[in-house]
Amino acid sequence: MKRTALCALLLGVVLSLVPWQARSQARTLRIGFVSTLSGGGAALGVDVLDGFNLALRHLGNRLGGLPVEVLTADDQQNPEVARSAVERLIRRDRADLLTGIIFSNVLLAVGDLVFGSGIFYISPNAGPSEYAGEQCNLHFINVAWQNDNLHEAMGHYAQLKRYETAFILAPNYPAGRDALTGFKRFYKGQVVSEVYTRLGQLDYSAEIAQIRAARPRAVYAFYPGAMGVNFIKQYAEAGLMQQVPLLLPGFSADADVIRAVGKAMVGVYNSSHWALELFNPINRRFVEDFRRTYNRIPALYASQGYDAALAMDHGLRAVGGDLSRKAEFRNAILSGFDSTRGRVRFNRNGYPIQNYYLRQVVESANGEVVNRLVGTIFRNHGDAYVSRCRLR
């Protein structure tokens, strides 16, 4: 009996201590990180998350001076799963900022939920045309690109190379349609066939047979993640690599795809807003520490995750960690911050104005297959939808 009373007393003392300790600490910033961390798109989500975490480590685990807690959730590339994860992060976990989504169809499914709750969504990847034009939103900033951009760059390159005919392919989802729209905006040759395949399709034998029969001068294919790995492997196995040049956006030709496909990709040209060798101190530190920490070469997605954290830090500093000062937070980021691509500025719709580069997959002297920066395709390039955005 005595012992029970003692236990109760001790418990009471401990319990009374806990809230007191919590109150004495500084406010913690909660970041909801919803991303594709399993399945065919997992390489993208893991890259963004690793990049984001690396930036946090470089910033001393603080954003704008506030200690940070990252709450991750796997959306399994499924809009339904993402909706319930976002709902949980907003209502139960009271997240202060959201980020992480890879696929545009997933983002478009949760957009109304996020914007309706008044939380900022800092996109490290998905940049659908919808949110660049009429549906642009105060709470949405994409630190990477608008979906069309990398494809516009490759369309421009195909035009410069004067390929008379092109066979173009993409998965059938919002970013796939944005991709081919972007390519066609700058490519003025003849598009002999425009093919949309099921999102997540992995066997491309039927499409590759069509390409062989159509005999185009060039093929342009937007396939991120496992789709890209399979398409490119099968394109090479069918013997087409030597017959028809394959043009790719950086999404289908970066470290994650190269790791899986290997030397069959050497020689392929692709477009990107970022490159391993971009010459600035932030990028050098990012690339070196990323390789050391995760023991692999970062893909463009990792740089985007890193930049998302830098953008948040920049915005939060401007408002002293007070996210209720929404316009100031947004304007601080839009007017520019220093990223892995150097200083990057934004349009009023929250999408960047930046350079786009041409890269080529090469085998380096030590046998490593990597992307090499070849040249600049666009300088200070924005997106095609900003004129329809009525913000500001």
Binding site: L37, S38, G39, G40, A42, A43, V46, D74, N172, S193, E194, V195, Y196, T197, R198, L202, D203, S205, A206, E207, A209, Q210, R212, A213, R215, A226, V229, N230, K233, Q234, A236, E237, A238, G239, A260
Partner: protein, 306 residues
């Protein structure tokens, strides 16, 4: 060149169809002979692919990986039969669905724990990774030709076993009338275990061979299981011949739909409408096929039970 395109698409369709056959033959036998709805069939397919990828990665030999995948999956199949399925043979289908669905969750989470959430890499053996000329002017992936050959060989072997051996006779007897087969002294328990191990081994072959063409990842089984069910419904439950015909039909129709529907639509309507409708219709084509078959022959193409 149009002839070449047709031939290439036909090969693609047959190759896909034969792999579907390896998967659905086991499924239809388990359902026809043992009267068990085995939703976990796709998990065995996944297990075969994972083991193959792991062993191939460790030994450097693709074919050692395939062999290991088949043996390991057959062994796991035997274990699952003895521990889980044997307890639900006498129960109704709903109980079996619940039990085997639970197995899916166990296998998926297990694979995530052992191999991690990211897809494994299973590469085509280097000697098969180049194209071969099958006709002047037409090259085709050597690996896919081998897959085609293995599929044909296994289908022939399966038919020999079913139609020319005592085990096959028992299996056919069990499929057409289970009670009578038992009354005539067929060792049902042993047949069930063997059939289940065989179906697990066949699905592992499909998983290992499709691994380099598709991707070795969690959830790969469920995606293809739906197609396997479409195949056995079209072919007639319990009929191996039916599942062969059904699988080839589904493989060819699916490939043809993806290959030719969009361009057909492009000639009939505006490019905008065609690019919307073509891919959408191509992806539901096999379900349309199933609906038509069910309308004309509700028991499937080759019904087993009179």
């Amino acid at each position: 060149m149009a002839g070449g395109l047709l031939l290439e698409q036909l090969l693609n369709g047959l190759q896909f169809g034969l792999m579907l056959f390896l998967l659905s033959a086991g499924l239809t036998l388990v359902l026809g002979v043992m009267d068990v709805v085995n939703l976990a069939h796709g998990s065995l397919y996944m297990l075969g692919a994972y083991v193959a990828a792991t062993v191939a990665g460790a030994t450097g030999s693709f074919w050692a990986g395939v062999a290991a995948g088949v043996v390991a999956t057959a062994a796991v199949g035997l274990g699952v039969e003895a521990t889980v399925l044997r307890r639900v043979y006498a129960r109704d289908h709903l109980t079996q669905v619940l039990a085997t669905f639970a197995l899916i969750l166990v296998f998926n989470e297990g694979a995530r724990m052992v191999w991690g959430p990211q897809a494994l890499l299973l590469s085509v053996p280097p000697e098969l990774s180049r194209p071969v000329a099958i006709l002047p002017n037409l090259t085709y992936s050597a690996y896919r030709l081998v897959v085609l050959g293995v599929g044909v060989g296994l289908a022939a072997l399966l038919f020999l076993v079913i139609h020319r051996t005592r085990l096959g006779m028992w299996v056919r007897a069990g499929a057409s009338n289970r009670a009578m087969a038992r009354a005539l002294g067929v060792p049902i328990r042993r047949v069930f275990a063997l059939v289940f191990a065989l179906s697990a081994a066949l699905s592992a072959v499909a998983g290992a061979l499709l691994g380099p063409i598709l991707a070795v990842q969690v959830g790969m089984g469920e995606e293809i299981l739906i197609l396997a069910f479409v195949v056995i419904v079209i072919g007639g439950i319990g009929s191996v011949k039916g599942s062969l015909v059904g699988a080839l039909l589904v493989g060819v129709v699916d490939t043809a739909g993806r290959a030719f529907l969009p361009s057909l639509f492009a000639q009939l309507m505006s490019p905008e409408a065609a690019s919307n409708l073509g891919p959408a219709l191509a992806s539901v084509l096999i379900y349309l096929l199933m609906a038509v078959v069910l309308f004309v022959r509700p028991q499937g193409l080759f019904p087993v039970r009179a």
